[in-house]
């Protein structure tokens, strides 16, 4: 019962954020430089009427908020959305698959060269900008050894390079974090306790150290999802993936070009829509992380029940 109430209040919060995410870009565009506001003001329209117009743009009478969304969902952009999400999630999964074992190994490894080489690798991966990694990968796998297409989106192979590029940047970040999380966990009293019970080294890592380390890693990375999505936008543009970046760029620039009012209005919706989608993705991912947290950590489940 309590969980349901908690879930409902969470949903209500999400709705507020989503509404704001629709309203904010529209209002910004309306009041921003070169926006509708300055034009109307120069025509001598009163501030109150202008504000009403602004509201009407967010909430047009003839297309209620519902039709607006129905409208959105039928648009071509659904495809763009899925390619974008595929890229983002795929890169997280790949980064985690590499970072978790490598980071763990770096944390427990006693040999000194290993303790230097891996962290340096992580540092390099972190400090090279994603687009440089992208260029290097294109050079390697499309030019020097042409086995993968450098751009486009017409075969599954096309997804490989952008996903890898995005993942490569995250591996360092995540790996370094996993490494420090595992080293910290290995200092805990219960690890010493497990060793004193004669538990095998690998069982100590897998059964005792892994879960808490992953929990701290998730805690750290959940708020980073928005940043990750931003990176995904850059990479999309670079590999000419028809995703949200393309859509966002096109609609936003169409706005700036001062197209006729009918077209402009349509694109204004598009900007709002992309904004809305971003907000939605971040919210859903955070919700997912929270659920994951509940599943992994009995303390959360028990103490909030």
């Amino acid at each position: 019962m309590d969980i349901l109430r908690r879930f409902a209040s969470r949903l209500a919060g999400m709705l507020v954020v989503l509404t704001l995410s629709i309203a904010t870009p529209t209002v910004i565009q309306f009041y921003g430089p070169g926006g509708e506001n300055s034009k109307l003001a120069s025509q001598g329209v009163s501030a109150w009427t202008r504000a009403k117009t602004a509201f009407a743009t967010v909430w047009p009478e003839e297309k209620g908020i519902l039709t607006f969304h129905l409208h959105v969902s039928t648009m071509s952009f659904v495809n763009d959305f899925f390619s974008f999400m595929g890229l983002a999630i795929g890169s997280i999964v790949i980064a985690a698959i590499v970072a978790v074992p490598v980071g763990t190994y770096a944390a427990i490894q006693q040999k000194s060269w290993f303790r230097t080489v891996l962290p340096t690798g992580f540092l390099v991966s972190q400090s090279i900008p994603t687009y440089v990694i992208g260029v290097i990968l294109i050079l390697l796998f499309s030019v020097v050894w042409p086995i993968l297409p450098p751009n486009g989106w017409n075969s599954p192979l096309c997804a490989v390079l952008p996903t890898l590029t995005l993942a490569a940047g995250n591996v360092g970040y995540m790996g370094k974090f996993v490494q420090s999380a595992v080293s910290e966990t290995m200092q805990e009293g219960y690890i010493l306790g497990a060793r004193a019970r004669g538990v095998r080294k690998w069982n100590i890592i897998l059964k005792h150290a892994m879960k808490p380390s992953i929990l701290t890693t998730i805690t750290f990375f959940a708020p980073q999802i928005a940043i990750l999505l931003n990176n995904a936008l850059t990479i999309e543009a670079m590999f000419a993936v028809p995703g949200l970046a393309k859509l966002f760029g096109e609609t936003a620039s169409a706005q700036g070009m001062g197209l006729p009012p009918g077209v402009g209005m349509q694109d204004q919706y598009m900007v709002s829509v992309v904004f809305f989608i971003f907000a939605l993705v971040v919210l859903v991912m955070n919700l997912f992380v929270d659920i994951l947290y509940r599943v992994l950590d009995p303390r959360i489940a028990r103490l909030t029940a």
Binding site: Q110, L192, G193, A196, R197, V199, R200, P212, P298, R302
Partner: protein, 333 residues
Amino acid sequence: MNILEIRDLRVEIDASDGTVHAVNGISFDVKEGEWLGILGESGSGKSITLLSILGLVRGRGRRVHGQAAFAGKELLSMRERQLRGIRGRDIGLVMQDVANGLNPLVPIGKQVMEPMLEHSICTKPEAARRAIELLREVGLPNPEWQMTRHSFELSGGMRQRVMIATAIACGPKVLFADEPTTALDATVQVQVLSLLREIAARRNMTTVMVTHDIGVAANVCDRVVVLYGGMIMETAEIDEFLRDARHPYSLALQSSMLRGSRETGVKSAIRPIPGHARTLWAPPVGCPFAERCLAAQSICHRERPSVARLSETHEVACHFAEEEANHVRSLFT
């Protein structure tokens, strides 16, 4: 019969600004079936002694020298794989860390079963059955239900009981208890102590208990080893220790043990020893206690005292052990 023989144990641990000489050559025996207390304050090297015997002080920047023979087998030179077979199976460890000694994410039942499975003592269902019995033995009410609970749902006393259950799961011959009651409340302390004593007696287990609390040692131990600065100050049967402790540090510990007004009727004056135990960045030149000792002479700072044997069971490492015992005692009491 000695079940454990420690010879010239030395432990060095590298820290960021030097090497800590935590244990500086200690030797003692543990007789089968006895309850040995290792007494000392923090930094005296008592916990690290237990852990290094179990091979838990290994790895980069940590050096353990000397010998520790368990039932004739030399532990310190043993490979990790063999030593793992001894930890938890032949020697169990109860830790001080009540708050964090159990994994908060693993149900306690699994943690009690773990040593039996790791040492391939029995099958999983059998281990589960035995775990329930163990939880019952350590006094957890409704053990079947407790199996699925987590450590954060238990009180400090209950957690310590579970830790005792994990330590005795494989029926070890020796139990190491590292400050097992320090983190607990007074009434719980008595509960856990009497439980430990009961279990040790029933299972005929040899117990080595590290403690800073003379009250605890005096009530359960057969023999004590007093440590300071990683060296043995005094070894004695408990009766000898209570009646005739010779080392100034033993006397200081006894006098700094607070006693209420109940027995004496008047509030006894507290005469604390000055100073505090320091980290040893080099092995001590003279007696490690010399800088705090009220009876110290110049020789104490220069030369390590040799061990004086006052009886078959009573040894004191003090330059003045055999003379002026009463004079030294008067300084402390």
